[in-house]
Symmetry: C2
Subunit: 449 residues, 2 copies
């Protein structure tokens, strides 16, 4: 490749020049960790997919139109009338005390008892995740995560130069025996494991829930091995039938950092989430938060707090549940009708269905054709740190209407069947290979090979 060096002479080299290149003169100045900040390969395609004629089953946007806006307007008016100067001012790095009280009420619905003193509010739970990662991850440290795992968490861990090792899951969530073996294997290699990152409820992207019986077992394994658990639970209250089992944090106060969010139960536009952490860690989290943003928005926090004080927010969550359940049913029904040859999870809550295709199909390669057919999804590779997921995709049912979902799945079927026909015609392959159920883990993680 040809690089124009800064002094103007032409040099030919595959090695980036220390003094920069013609595209970015600061190339040589970035921190090592900046190399982990890569734009998603499908980002450009998603820009196209956001056009209104495309049915996007790709994003994770909550359906905020189900929230009566007058509730927000009146909450905000009351905040400004009664606490205007507080709302407009800097606040504490830990967050507004009255909101942290309400957060305890929210967490109590999942069996969590905590102290307001150990709650730290943040600019969305994503920020809490980022701060925990900043606090714990040295380059090369291992983070354990489900297989697959949340793309935004993988990005955070990469940005602190962690090595993510996936642990197998099945329809009951993370598999305890797989966790035990993975830890033993890594310990045998002398690797340093910093924490287990897990989404126990209505998993993003897998759509499954960690069973009640596995929860104490997972905690026991982590305790034995002195591994911290980072429990990320944005969807826990959005169940369709049975509530999810109580949170991991409800079973262990000392080894679990719990992350919660108002993005799915109220609205993401406020960017209000939180961490509940063991006391010593919470102290450091506050310092990290102050360093990163001084304090979270008082304005947003007080509006959310006022909303929680003055409205029947539990009824509003019921409304959201009804909306999402109807959409999930539409998606599962349409998959059965149009794509019976695939496998998928059938979530009992949350936003996502994980679809497994025959091995001959590649979801990333197929995406441009899908967008051409006016439907978008997220390729499975986005949810693995090690290149797996090519034969899987995440479908989101949270944002499009049930009718749009049916149209989207029908379009997806056109693409999938077109691909299969093409392969059948030109390659003369044998019968399609499909796992007996949704496949989260189609090849051993590269770290464990």
């Amino acid at each position: 490749m040809e690089i124009l060096s800064r002094n103007g002479s032409d040099v030919t080299s595959d090695v980036p020049q220390r003094t920069g290149n013609n595209l970015d003169p600061w190339y040589a100045n970035y921190a090592e960790r900046a190399s982990g900040l890569a734009a998603s390969e499908v980002r450009a395609l998603f820009a196209v997919a956001s056009r209104p004629e495309v049915v996007s089953l790709a994003g994770g946007m909550p359906f905020v139109s189900a929230l009566p806006q007058e509730l927000i307007v009146s909450s905000m008016e009351r905040v400004m009338r009664t606490q205007g100067p507080v709302a407009l001012q800097y606040g504490s790095g830990q967050g507004i005390p009255q909101l942290r009280e309400h957060i305890l009420d929210v967490m109590a619905l999942e069996g969590i008892r905590g102290s307001v003193d150990n709650v730290v509010t943040a600019t969305g739970s994503q920020q809490a995740l980022d701060l925990v990662a900043k606090l714990f991850i040295d380059p090369g440290d291992v983070i354990l995560a489900e297989s697959p795992s949340y793309v935004g968490a993988l990005g955070v861990f990469r940005s602190y130069q962690a090595s993510v090792v996936h642990v197998a899951m099945d329809d009951d969530g993370l598999i305890p025996e797989a966790l035990r073996q993975t830890i033993a294997h890594l310990r045998g290699q002398g690797r340093r494991i910093k924490f287990l990152y897990t989404i126990p409820n209505f998993h993003n992207p897998a759509g499954v829930t960690l069973s009640a019986s596995r929860r104490p077992e997972i905690l026991e394994i982590c305790r034995e091995n002195e591994i911290l658990v980072l429990e990320d639970n944005p969807y826990g209250l959005l169940h369709f039938d049975e509530p999810a089992p109580n949170a991991l944090r409800s079973l262990d106060e000392d080894h679990v950092i719990y992350l919660g969010s108002f993005s799915k139960t109220l609205a993401p536009g406020f960017r209000v989430g939180w961490a509940l952490a063991p006391h010593a860690i919470r102290e450091k989290l506050i310092l990290a938060a102050e360093s990163a943003i001084l304090s979270p928005s008082s304005f947003s926090q007080l509006v959310v707090s006022e909303y929680l004080s003055t409205t029947d927010w539990r009824a509003q969550i019921d409304t959201f549940r009804g909306v999402y359940r109807e959409r999930k049913d539409a998606m599962i029904e349409a998959l059965g009708e149009y794509l019976p040859q695939l496998r998928w999870t059938n979530p009992n809550g949350g936003f996502y269905v994980w679809v497994t295709m025959p091995d001959v199909l590649d979801s990333k390669q197929m995406l441009p054709r899908a967008v051409k057919e006016l439907v978008a999804y997220t390729p499975g590779t986005a949810f693995f740190a090690d290149g797996r997921g090519r034969h899987a995709m995440r479908l989101s049912f949270c944002y499009p209407t049930p009718d749009a979902i049916r149209v989207g799945i029908r379009r997806l079927a056109t693409v999938v069947n077109g691909e299969l026909d093409l392969l059948d015609t030109f390659a003369g392959t044998g019968p399609l290979q499909l796992p007996p159920s949704a496949d989260f883990d189609s090849a051993p993680p590269s770290d464990l090979k």
Copy 2:
């Protein structure tokens, strides 16, 4: 010191135990960078100082009561009426386009011409500062900063394990020759300098402004040495008489990352600030922002944007200027009346006065006595990365009324004079040593000794 190890046996050791201690079982698990996250030594004292009977000249809280709250309420109502679902939803990691357009108008007042494409909004300019640091700082890298510098920036740099080297300033701001010498000295040692962090206007904490004639010279020195400039300008529009000279960014698009904020010209409670960066860097900044928080608050951004669209925000800034100028005058007058034996800067804008005391006084040691006398300030040591600043303090005039400022300075005089009397009586020292003008730089930086 006695540490109870995890297995319960008593061990006596000065070395932290690998497996944690009885105060924090996760002690051994934190990342190296977490050791840089230390609580301020005067934090506990500031909690006391926030009691209403104490006149606090310590904090940097803007006087938000000078902002008519109905402007915020009506902006917010219009936003929810016309763009409710956008305000409640996730947005782009770069920030809402219409707000970024307004930000160009704001920056134009300081001579900056930029593209909306190169503006990245953030959760306060503190977050933009954090993201730039994350992007550029490897452990051990050198950051150049004024002497003294903003305490919140020093905290960020420490959290990424940078080594801050201070560069001398005088009443005209950063001294070009000192910058040149410091760079040469560090280069001679083989140190890697990542950027110059500077607050050219109404400096926090020094209260001085970089003169117009020095600006191109500072930029030229940085260009010659391929050092990026990080220009932090939260106070630039809050001048009292003459406007500040045009921003450094107005003179050089390619070597300056500019940080701006609505915290002082509108209100900090929204947590809306921004960076204007060279194009290649701005791309990475967006990725870092998405990793840290997914997107800044749409709700906050739209309310600020609507406020800028529909009100005479320039007139509101004039109102703030009048408020702060009156308070600054009260402080300077009271210092002249009650503490003529000290030296201080006389800022032409912003929030802060830097006060230099005789060498025999120590501002950190004196603080508990000041709080007992019901006045608080920030000790000078907070603004140095190398232990200097013991004989200096930062006084803020932004928040208390002029009357409260006069009371506060009178109380401070009681403390200072009491200390001096005590020293005089018991130590029998010679005449007081005071520099001829405010002293920013009372000893050579330890890095350069």
